[in-house]
Symmetry: D3
Subunit: 339 residues, 6 copies
Amino acid sequence: MKVVTFGELMMRLSPEGHRRIQQADRFEVHYGGAEANVAAFLAQMGVDAFFVTKVPANPVGDAVIWHLRKFGVKTDWVIKGKGRLGIYFLELGMSQRPSKVIYDRKGSAISLANLEDFPWEEILEEADHFHFSGITPALGGKLPEIVGEALKVAKAKNVRVSCDLNYRAKLWTPEEARKVMEPYMEYVDVLIANEEDMAKVLSIEIQGLDLKTGRLNRESYVKAVEELVNRHDFEVVGVTLRESYSANVNGWSAMLWEGGEVYFSKRYEVHIVDRVGAGDAFAGGLIYGLLAGKKPQEKLEFAVAASCMKHSIPGDFSILTNEEIEKLASGTTSGRVER
Amino acid sequence: MKVVTFGELMMRLSPEGHRRIQQADRFEVHYGGAEANVAAFLAQMGVDAFFVTKVPANPVGDAVIWHLRKFGVKTDWVIKGKGRLGIYFLELGMSQRPSKVIYDRKGSAISLANLEDFPWEEILEEADHFHFSGITPALGGKLPEIVGEALKVAKAKNVRVSCDLNYRAKLWTPEEARKVMEPYMEYVDVLIANEEDMAKVLSIEIQGLDLKTGRLNRESYVKAVEELVNRHDFEVVGVTLRESYSANVNGWSAMLWEGGEVYFSKRYEVHIVDRVGAGDAFAGGLIYGLLAGKKPQEKLEFAVAASCMKHSIPGDFSILTNEEIEKLASGTTSGRVER
Amino acid sequence: MKVVTFGELMMRLSPEGHRRIQQADRFEVHYGGAEANVAAFLAQMGVDAFFVTKVPANPVGDAVIWHLRKFGVKTDWVIKGKGRLGIYFLELGMSQRPSKVIYDRKGSAISLANLEDFPWEEILEEADHFHFSGITPALGGKLPEIVGEALKVAKAKNVRVSCDLNYRAKLWTPEEARKVMEPYMEYVDVLIANEEDMAKVLSIEIQGLDLKTGRLNRESYVKAVEELVNRHDFEVVGVTLRESYSANVNGWSAMLWEGGEVYFSKRYEVHIVDRVGAGDAFAGGLIYGLLAGKKPQEKLEFAVAASCMKHSIPGDFSILTNEEIEKLASGTTSGRVER
Amino acid sequence: MKVVTFGELMMRLSPEGHRRIQQADRFEVHYGGAEANVAAFLAQMGVDAFFVTKVPANPVGDAVIWHLRKFGVKTDWVIKGKGRLGIYFLELGMSQRPSKVIYDRKGSAISLANLEDFPWEEILEEADHFHFSGITPALGGKLPEIVGEALKVAKAKNVRVSCDLNYRAKLWTPEEARKVMEPYMEYVDVLIANEEDMAKVLSIEIQGLDLKTGRLNRESYVKAVEELVNRHDFEVVGVTLRESYSANVNGWSAMLWEGGEVYFSKRYEVHIVDRVGAGDAFAGGLIYGLLAGKKPQEKLEFAVAASCMKHSIPGDFSILTNEEIEKLASGTTSGRVER
Amino acid sequence: MKVVTFGELMMRLSPEGHRRIQQADRFEVHYGGAEANVAAFLAQMGVDAFFVTKVPANPVGDAVIWHLRKFGVKTDWVIKGKGRLGIYFLELGMSQRPSKVIYDRKGSAISLANLEDFPWEEILEEADHFHFSGITPALGGKLPEIVGEALKVAKAKNVRVSCDLNYRAKLWTPEEARKVMEPYMEYVDVLIANEEDMAKVLSIEIQGLDLKTGRLNRESYVKAVEELVNRHDFEVVGVTLRESYSANVNGWSAMLWEGGEVYFSKRYEVHIVDRVGAGDAFAGGLIYGLLAGKKPQEKLEFAVAASCMKHSIPGDFSILTNEEIEKLASGTTSGRVER
Amino acid sequence: MKVVTFGELMMRLSPEGHRRIQQADRFEVHYGGAEANVAAFLAQMGVDAFFVTKVPANPVGDAVIWHLRKFGVKTDWVIKGKGRLGIYFLELGMSQRPSKVIYDRKGSAISLANLEDFPWEEILEEADHFHFSGITPALGGKLPEIVGEALKVAKAKNVRVSCDLNYRAKLWTPEEARKVMEPYMEYVDVLIANEEDMAKVLSIEIQGLDLKTGRLNRESYVKAVEELVNRHDFEVVGVTLRESYSANVNGWSAMLWEGGEVYFSKRYEVHIVDRVGAGDAFAGGLIYGLLAGKKPQEKLEFAVAASCMKHSIPGDFSILTNEEIEKLASGTTSGRVER
């Protein structure tokens, strides 16, 4: 099976432990980005996962390729050229102090890319699935156009398409997001979103939410998703349900709409090591479930278990085997030492 | 606005992570002390914060000055001279194992200081506020006298004075503490204390406390504070209410007495990264609230939010912006990633 | 007082923090093994604790001896010879992701040992206590025989014998375990076990257990132990009761059977730094309680407090003083900073 | 004494030890830039050293200010605004493998600065000295103009001006450099350069150089400098003479032209810890020598000793006391432990 | 171009810096082995480099694959199965203290491999080159036979074969080595060796050597190689000439015999970061030179420059670009910072 | 064989790598002291080595004992009591920048010790050798008296006594040193010294020395030692000859006077990792040579080889085997990897 994902991969720099940036005389280095995270997840599931991007033609760009290869991601379509590698600084929060992301991604090679950099006919040849997130077009430049082109080629080639809305307020306004993203929806088969994404990108408000305290309300979510599938012709919709009690303890579950039915997953209380990339592990789990032909509830539990475990792994990429995920999905939540 | 704080700043050496001292082949190095912590907090709020102390005339003493400057603290009155820099070893506890402090502060330059080292008339020129804690006179030598002198000058210059009782059983007995501290009270406008301080230093017992299990009783606190303000002519009294469930999870809140009224703050459950200096962040928050002319409940919530967040920051000094504290004080407790 | 313990000591390699093995470009190095952990605990209690084993005759073997000596363990009977040092890789889990142990212990010097390597008459001279666990014979080779010999000599010399069943599914099957272990039982005075050990090694099933979720049922434990003491002539039986809620939060308590009575300890909720060796700290605490002539409930509380605190200490060996354990055992659970 | 320096300060990220970028899962973080390095040196000599720049209005920009303050540099004229902080990656070379710098400085706040950001009349008020290097105008944007403005104001205020040519091939071509830099020369009192700078920026070739092997020829240098002072009306010219034998062993000395005379310094063979900023320590030493009224040979030896010692200090900023430099300058080169 | 290399890859554990094993509470983790090092070198030169081996079917085996992939090595023929991963401990020496290797490689998966594990017909399909070293058969088991089989298939398929004698006294005696290795020689086109290899494996002594002090004598080397090519029908012979002055400073050069002529390379004095794998970088450079059709002297200089630079790179694998090697080979030895 | 050494053991804190103290946010922790270093050396040679000292009765004092035990030193006479543990800060120099020691040893437990703390009759029972250095009495308090007492008891018991003069200018003046040390000389059998010690403590100047550049003159040393043995009745005199070219490269050799003859050792050029404790390794090697009955030249070469290798080992204690030292002493200086 061949899956293609497209987007930006950034270098992530974080002070050690819970230090703040002014205290850092060392940064931990990770690499990640919404779509690369999905590719890395799928590569570990045994899928031929290609990540398509553009990086600078220098050792920093090489480091990206080395990192992707390590996880088994195919880098044939990692183009090298002008521009820099986007960076983000991450301060790890704790308790009442939120984790903090500072973007330094302007001028990245991918944001300077051109239509000709990516020959989609060739890239999507024989592909089973194409995945992107709302972050890619939000980077601007020619990217909205490039994504549009990829979608058309995917449609023409009968490649299933998934989109994680992934709204980022630091990249664009809801109006800008809507203008670009809504036209994409007709090409999208699998939609992945959370409450904020739906509200900001697709104007679907969920009632009774209290983001400040993190409490959720199931019925409102069902209503919102039903409105969504009325508007667009999705095959599957996955919605992650994060309950943010504090920076280090969250509730985590998800719902799935498929074939007219709504499914809710088990709910996990997670003690967090690193929550970046958890949503992408969910997306990866869902795509894998689709490729593997799992039933809706299984698919959902697999995706939620994968993303639940991602919270325990340092870095943007998950490091998980199929067996580990299945074991948790099937109910072994005790965390007993395996020896 | 100009604030002057006076006391000892120590080097703090802690084994990495949760290691014990015998396991350490590396120490993390921080610098801190009750009054320096307050100065560092205030400097970050934009106040002209002077820390007054004496350090050894060697690179270790220089390191102290470099550290203070980094946080924006004014070091004009950091005197250099004979003696060493006090050190404390800190083992970070977890769950049922308490954090452990081993003092190695005998012979410190500040404890050997003389009256002439500190020309208070000059130091307190144009100052708005003077802050000290009970630790300073507890170090002995001429310090009780030097503090007394500072208080007199402050009074004469109409500088508001705050005192954090900060009783330390390893430094002096309750009897010694009372003898020195009680006479200071007539100069003190703002008193900061916890239950142990009040009992040991001012002989005010709080009923119904169970320090072993960490449960608290609001009424007894109100009574105690009322007795306190009957005895001394304080403008403001702040009392921190720590509920110690374990070494890494505490309840945290505070009460404030001002203008005859008692106020209680929100209560936070904190997962602890580093609790040293949390009380000082409370003191700093309260002083800042006074300088900024905040209303009592606002002042209290600001001070409690500041000290709540300090628990998440490694080292003795807090690293916080006004905005971060206000955001928590105004109710955003979910710890969601900011991106 | 002289205690002799016998078994394998391994090098433990763990990625930093919560990293997985593929992410590690550094390993933290610890040394440990069930019986060595007990010896290290007892040495810190002031007992003359001898650990008997065989290590390779190279600097890696030397490192073992240096490590044992550091904790005060007597290494007179650490034999050097052919073979390697067993290694285990430990990934530290979190929340729903379990800690994972990968053994690399084949071909270890101890597993290649011969009967003549250990002159038990001499080794057990003047000993008060001999301790081993089920892991030692499970390593195969001549070890079942060597343990058998040690037990006979201990009996002949009137040395009290304790055995921690410590069943390890990666080392042998229940059938193999039973065949070797049951004949030992007539020499054992003090039996230490958990629910899995009793079921797998001594065929005593505990009803109503749900290992997946970690919930326990007191009555079933009592029944199981009563059956056990009917079959074998034990002086004392200690059973640890771990409730595994997640990889980082567990319930921890124990029961003791002695002189026909059953005792239950206080129950602790532990936030885990490193749970490896907690069971061994329990065994060490129980042995110390016997040597010190403590009463049953005291003995139990001491052993449970010791093992509770071990969860907070990195590495296989506990680092605890008698005073620290007694303080927790006597009810100080608040984890307040000691300063 | 007040000295003002103006330029860019970057974050420097280096893999640990001699690792290459692809191997780094941690970066050491330093901050530096040619002119900031000079300011940090001078602040440690007791000079009121102001560093003028523009940084992003986020915690990364704050970290710059904290870092400067730590060294005692005055940050009153560190402006905050749009843009990012320039970054450079540094791989530390060894033996035949050169150290490697990868610039990621496009879009930095300083390169986006405007004329109005820097009110030179106010900034240079009461200043004794103004220092800049060729890197600043090479960053483009309005910087050539801003530097020009600073020079005019300095002239008008009778502030002595020093310029380190600091040619960087990755920033501009020799033609571009000449076009901008030559007109500045009439404002410059103190010129600092090496052989490459003179050739590329001022078209003065030094004969008989073999940069590949690092051998130097004194006479050619004298000739070149004489040509230089014929063309421009400099008060002092300092030329650093680096002999690059390998990435970790260099010869280091300098020559000085002053008042028509040429002086050569002692020559040091340096084993290198970190050579970045050594040229800036030379500039700092020369400026300090001028401010302190040292004689030419003394001035030169002081500057060379300072820059020689900088090679032993990690990071871009030197950390040196006046006494340490004087001791080396006066001939104590044995490196005996001071105890 | 496709190159296949075959052998063992081990985990390498080294104490930090110059620590000895007893001091290590952390190990740096690298992976390497003579033939894998060659593959990693070639992959970076743009060759399709396959490394053939067997690793344990667990996360430690996965880590090997991840590591190889990172460098671009093809892992299609990394078989998983029973056995462990070989480990070696490396203490980094300095000055008069030699680096020290402690092998812990018994029972490795590769040493337990069977003939059927490696279908050479398939593996060597379309290959241009096959490389192995004397270490592989020295590991025993079926490996001498497996290597023999590979050689026969290579011959039949007209694949050029290179062999690095790589004698290891800890693995076999000279007699054992000769018995296995000499029969291979008829299949070998390219022989790589140093003085010890030639003496121990092929009984060719080099006169006038003083290994203790590290001085070499060119004529004796020429004689030895001439004897060698008289005996066996080699196309190319490469001999590395290491002059060991101390653990951290060596002379490094090589000679090449090709087409009846002898060539000597430039000689480098290297300050060593990590010399493990330098000989393998030489082998890789030579193979690449052959594949690229370089002339003899060019080939030799390329191989020597590559291996010279390897000494500066931590870990067993080199990290070098073609450009970097060519630059040094063409004479740029000054180590000037590239910026 | 039993050797007793007596003195102070300090905690040593050093910034990582070549960082200066102001840059340190981590210290490496070692423990050491002149006499403890000798004991640790001898314990590794298989001698029963007792280190006698006094440490604080807290976990920091425990850490000292743990550290000594690790190296096999007997700690029966490590007394616990009042006072602190002496600390010294060590900045590692490089090239022209000297390493720098900052003592923070005032108020140490050993400096507060009393005569009754050390029952020398018991301590020296059955001892073969007693060793101390001039540092011990230099610490003041009762130590000059305590050392005097130990010497008398040693004499009475026929225990051979060695003394390393070890003059420390930061502890006392030459006059003070002479007054205390000269009377000890009648008890001393083996004197160890360098040129500075002889001049400052015993008023024997060595002509033609240039400490600044590190050049030595053999004849002057011979003269000085002859004068020495004329004055005092020594059995053996060892003089270390350090040539300090720079902070990281030194010449190292020694001379020995025994039985009226003078011997010079081989000379090593050492590249330094950590030179602290090298002199103590020389003392240890000499004492071991005496105990083992080596001939004068052998004894000297052994002691010089041991101390030469100490320069390559991080920390104050050497970590060396007899075999390693003998191998170097017998002429293997090439530093070739042992594998």
